[in-house]
């Protein structure tokens, strides 16, 4: 029944050659005479030989595997990105290992162990917690040896190659748009305080407001983790507000959608009572009612570029600088923003 899995030895025996020749046929076919090569190929075919990756990895010291460390696989924002990563990796023969990054303390060590134990050659790291300053502290030690690319978020001062969106510019774009639509009292529901994205987006928010002569410090603000819940919380506080902003920018689509949803539960509607914008353009943004006006990140590109950059590094490219790729965002106008006649605050 369960026949033994064929090894390179079996192939060699059947083809009447040495294992070295079989190995060459696989990794350097040109070194083998055509006739020999054909016999070997046939033998491989006939027994259905697949190189044992454990053995191969042990010899070659690389496993052709990329580790993807996410804060939360369940978050729909990551779906398309992981999809793109998987595609790019598969194309180049790499496997994709997924781990959920728990906030738990000593997690860094466990990520590193993937490298030390030869389970992954490189790391695609989604991590934006500034509190994790320890990562950068390790740079210069052996830790640096784990080829890593920051994706979407980044560890400031970590000195790692990075692929992310122009968060600051994206938010500016959002605010500019809201102002153009007549809004001058623009609240914000921010992401988690300890996250770089929160900072970057906050910068864009403040910068754009100032440019339009609006004091960012005077605007309503709420912050919390990325997710619906933060939107709910914000909405519950919003409805109590005496002087309500006419528009609210949310740091993430999930927050925006949660915000609108909870608003509805309280009898307010968007965009009649408030205009709302999100950030990300997750697949659901276009489906929610009303469809969400938002800033699009290039999910697919982010994933693909990060993966390719990492694989290039693994294969010896990237001799020079530390790459830092910033992708532009795009305004997606849908129906959660209403034009109003400018009033004073």
């Amino acid at each position: 029944m369960t026949e033994k899995i064929p090894t390179i030895q079996d192939v060699a025996r059947i083809a009447g050659v040495s294992t070295a020749t079989v190995s060459r046929v696989l990794s350097a076919p040109d070194m083998v005479r055509a006739r020999t090569r054909e016999r070997v190929t046939d033998a491989i075919e006939s027994v259905g030989f697949t190189p044992n990756m454990a053995a191969q990895s042990l010899r070659r010291r690389r496993v052709k595997t990329v580790l993807v460390a996410l804060p939360n696989i369940g978050n729909s924002f990551f779906g398309p990105i992981v999809d793109a990563i998987e595609r790019a990796c598969t194309e180049r023969g790499y496997d994709v290992l997924i781990v959920n990054r728990r906030p738990d303390s000593s997690d860094d060590a466990s990520l590193l162990s993937y490298f030390n134990s030869n389970r992954a050659d490189g790391l695609l790291l989604f991590d934006g917690s500034t509190s994790r300053s320890n990562w950068s502290a390790r740079v210069g030690n052996r830790e640096l040896a784990f080829p890593t690319v920051n994706v979407c978020e980044l560890i400031e001062g970590g000195g790692l190659p990075t692929v992310l969106s122009d968060n600051e510019g994206g938010v500016e774009m959002a605010i500019d748009y809201l102002v153009r639509m007549g809004h001058r009292n623009i609240g914000r529901v921010a992401g988690p305080e300890e996250n770089v994205l929160n900072r970057q987006r906050g910068l864009g928010y403040a910068k754009a407001l100032k440019r339009h002569g609006i004091d960012p410090g005077l605007q309503w603000r709420h912050a919390g983790p990325f997710g619906f819940q933060t939107g709910h919380d914000a909405a519950r506080r919003f409805v109590e507000l005496a002087d309500k902003p006419s528009a609210v920018f949310c740091d993430a689509d999930e927050i925006a959608i949660g915000f609108i949803s909870e608003l509805h539960a309280h009898g307010l509607t968007c965009p009649n009572d408030v205009s709302v914008m999100g950030f990300d353009d997750i697949p659901f943004a276009a489906q929610s009612s009303p469809p969400l006006t938002t800033i699009r990140q290039q999910h697919k590109q982010l994933g693909r570029l990060a993966a390719e950059l990492l694989m290039d590094m693994l294969e010896g490219g990237l001799q020079g600088e530390t790459a830092h790729v910033v992708l532009a965002c795009e305004l997606v106008e849908r129906q959660t923003v209403r034009a109003i006649a400018p009033t004073q605050t």
Copy 2:
């Protein structure tokens, strides 16, 4: 800078013991005298030793890795399930490898190669295409040797252990509920024809309708792949209907949400003009406007049970029968279904 990664030899040398002893400390500590053990532990600590998994796998013939093959990572339905799988696996020291299952032909072979090449010990397979009858054909050959658990969907006649929801019962529950709310003209937007889920859910749909004296054959129906697009298409056809059903059951939440969204674009509203139900209870279902009434699958449980079943198999449990786990669904009443006075069709 990049110091050499320590091996078991280094540890042995430092601790003044043989590599065998170090190995024992790691896998069978009780076999080692306490004092020796401590010396070894210290040595391990001091050099930061982590066993090389490639070497370990080569010897042990197992890689402690589970392969998860999804039809579409991007689909938000899978998020929570993959999350649960990853949790369960991590708890027991398994890694999770992810592949997107492309509909491309000979994909089966590539999945098998994960086993043959010793990259994964077992497979969690999300596949419900009945056209894929070849998989079952292989059972009995070496193919069977790849320990596999079907999740959510299943390959009929594949004879593989399976973990899924009671799809038939779930849909019955939905229809019963709609009837209870006064609906007797109940359309359906189905999933892809070639998918088992479509069949199972169709069975429940027909069964429940018949039980209530309604002819399933007379109801409006539309089918398409799981995803928003199918909901859109269905809605565009729906608005043209002369005799509109008062309620529509959708085979998936994404379909339902797409349906409602497109309905709105055509000036119809839910539940005033139509009542709509979905299936799955994806995270967004609760956030959409209006919040979606749906049938909940136990995502976390599905993922966890499947993973544990597989790991049990890998570790020698499951000597006996082929497990077939069916989880109950649950009705989640929200706001997309309206009670109406019963009328005749």
